[in-house]
Subunit: 347 residues, 2 copies
DNA sequence: GTGAAAGCGCTAACAT
DNA sequence: ATGTTAGCGCTTTCAC
């Protein structure tokens, strides 16, 4: 019992050949009921578990997919992962996860390791959109789907959230509530999300003929501190904005902290919209309006796409999904001057 | 180039035998510089990546450990995972993660899959402390270390956080600040953390000769709503507690929400201590005092223990680590009557 | 219905 | 320094 029992051991105990044992293990039928039972009993007795390594050396697929994320501590990824995992399980796959800590090198190592282990496919949010380190995977013909960040150097299925649309809608919502002095706290412009969310902002203003005002465009770095600083900067303006849009979760947190510290009345003196729902959103008063990403769905679709690739190895064309984010309007975004009174006037 | 290149292909291209190729792959030395370079070039050319399956069929270890968590969305686990991963990487191991969604059945399946894949060891927070489903792992002689929840049926190394100590210290802290009417929002008493945190509470009161008051002991279920309800119940009391201890993160959130809704002045009218640091802790005003668990360290130690088991397969005795939680005193816990005035007494 | 035997890709003696 | 070869545990013809 101790140590690994092999198919040989089972065969010996059941007094049959290994071929027959193999047949029942993979229930291919064609085995007499009696022998099958004898074998089953032998398996039980020996505590046999088949060796996947030996198996997958013959068989091509491993029914395993690898998932790679840049930062396991960012709540976005566990949610996506949950979606992947659920779909994977439904389809008889095991999803294994590894985190790169935003390091391209580590990502390459993990990738290699996954390939060595013969994963059937990979879902990843890369630490490096250039994608040169994906060469190996590509060469092996292993299907890949990119999530949240696209890959430049190689074509692969991609599932993104429509950042442009999300920020557009948030800004539009505030415009329709009468705001014109709308500030944005941008993410880094060398990242896709940072760029796209800024584009949505500009597009909304443009569509409603509101000129871009440089004073209201603050560069942040997706970090909490930069959100804090940005809010402060906006508050220092002679002509303060009446609404703020923060491009991500951390900057949302920083911004709200600052607004509160400055005793700038959220929702009243300044409306607010954040990108990505955060735990504190429903905690602060007033509750935060946000653009929420369908993370679970992202995971499900990513698996879906991957699964199709795995099944029909044919060279399907590259596909790109763009999921629509959802506008969650809570209390921090309000109509400007509900009584129709203009700024600078007395009541 | 397309499709898997094998060691054979490399040997052919480099015009050497597969043995020599194997030698350079595993850099065992004893290969002339020139040939080595030829082989390296051939590897590059063919895009060869060694097949881990074929390898681990001969070699015993896979340099891979499996990590199983019950709920990937609970922020506790990603943190622990980060600790495990870091140590694993430092030691040349790859950590793969899978989540059971608190299902014993799924946990069994994952375990089996991990065994099939020949993981060298497993770190898990089980969905079922009884541990009958761990039979298979045990039989295979694969080392296991339990994290945060212990395993009853089998002996294995365990790393826990000292719940009793954590809640003891929190309550003690409040006692030393003059509080006597200290309420607890308990977790389920059929879970180890729920039980232990209650024990620490009782012990602290006992040590300071404060009689247990049933009115101040509220049963919760570790869910946010129960924390909310509990706070309400306490507020309804004729003789309200002057301090509250909440046994976990979610109930902390619920409780604080309720306190705020009831306009019960946190820190002033009622002191507060939570178990587990939460994002909102530093967000609300006043900032929350909490018992914080050293999650990263838990992960590091778990790997450490596992690694030792993997290396010296000898039957070490079962080891149990209990890490001390850290008391983070912020603003929600304050001295009762800071001027030294005793309850019911005159100065 | 069952078994014998040939590999799968690799490592590790054992030769040379 | 390099090659030959015997397996590792398994699946899969091909016989019987």
């Amino acid at each position: 019992m101790e140590g690994k029992a092999t198919i040989q051991d089972v065969a010996r105990v059941a007094e049959v050949s290994i071929a027959t044992v193999s047949r029942v293990i993979n229930n291919q039928g064609g085995v007499r009921k009696a022998t099958e039972e004898r074998i089953l009993k032998a398996i039980e007795e020996t505590g046999y578990i088949r060796n996947a390594a030996a198996r997958s050396i013959k068989i091509k697929d491993t029914k395993t997919i690898g998932v790679i994320v840049p930062d396991i501590n960012n709540p976005f990824f566990p949610s996506v992962m949950a979606g992947i995992e659920q779909k994977a399980r439904e389809n008889g796959y095991l999803a294994i996860l590894a985190s790169t800590n935003e390091s391209t090198v580590v990502e390459g190592e993990i990738l290699k390791n996954f390939i060595e282990r013969g994963v059937d496919g990979v879902i990843l949010t890369t630490a490096n959109e250039a994608g040169d380190h994906l060469k190996q995977v590509h060469e092996q013909g292993i299907p890949v789907v990119a999530v949240d960040r696209s890959i430049q150097r190689y074509d692969c299925d991609t599932v993104l959230v429509d950042n442009v649309k999300g920020s557009y809608q948030a800004v539009q919502h505030m415009i329709l509530q009468g705001h014109e002095k709308i500030a944005i706290i941008c993410g880094p412009q060398n990242t896709t999300p940072g760029r796209e969310r800024f584009i949505g902002y500009k597009k909304a203003l443009e569509d409603y003929n509101i000129p871009l005002d440089e004073r209201y465009i603050i560069q942040g770095d997706f970090g909490e501190r930069s959100g804090y600083l940005a809010a402060k900067e906006l508050h220092d303006l002679e002509e303060r904005p009446t609404a703020i849009f923060a491009s991500n979760n951390l900057m949302t947190i920083g911004c709200v902290k600052a607004v509160s510290a400055l005793d700038w009345k959220l929702g009243e003196e300044v409306s607010f919209f954040g990108f990505d729902d955060v735990e504190i959103a429903t905690f602060v008063n007033p509750k935060l309006s946000v653009v929420s990403r369908p993370m679970h769905a992202v995971g499900e679709i990513a698996f879906q796409l991957l699964h199709e690739r795995i099944q029909f190895k044919e060279p399907l064309p590259k596909r790109e999904y763009k999921l629509s984010p959802e506008l969650i309007v809570r209390e921090s975004s309000r109509a400007l001057f509900p009584k129709g009174i203009q700024s600078g006037q007395t009541s």
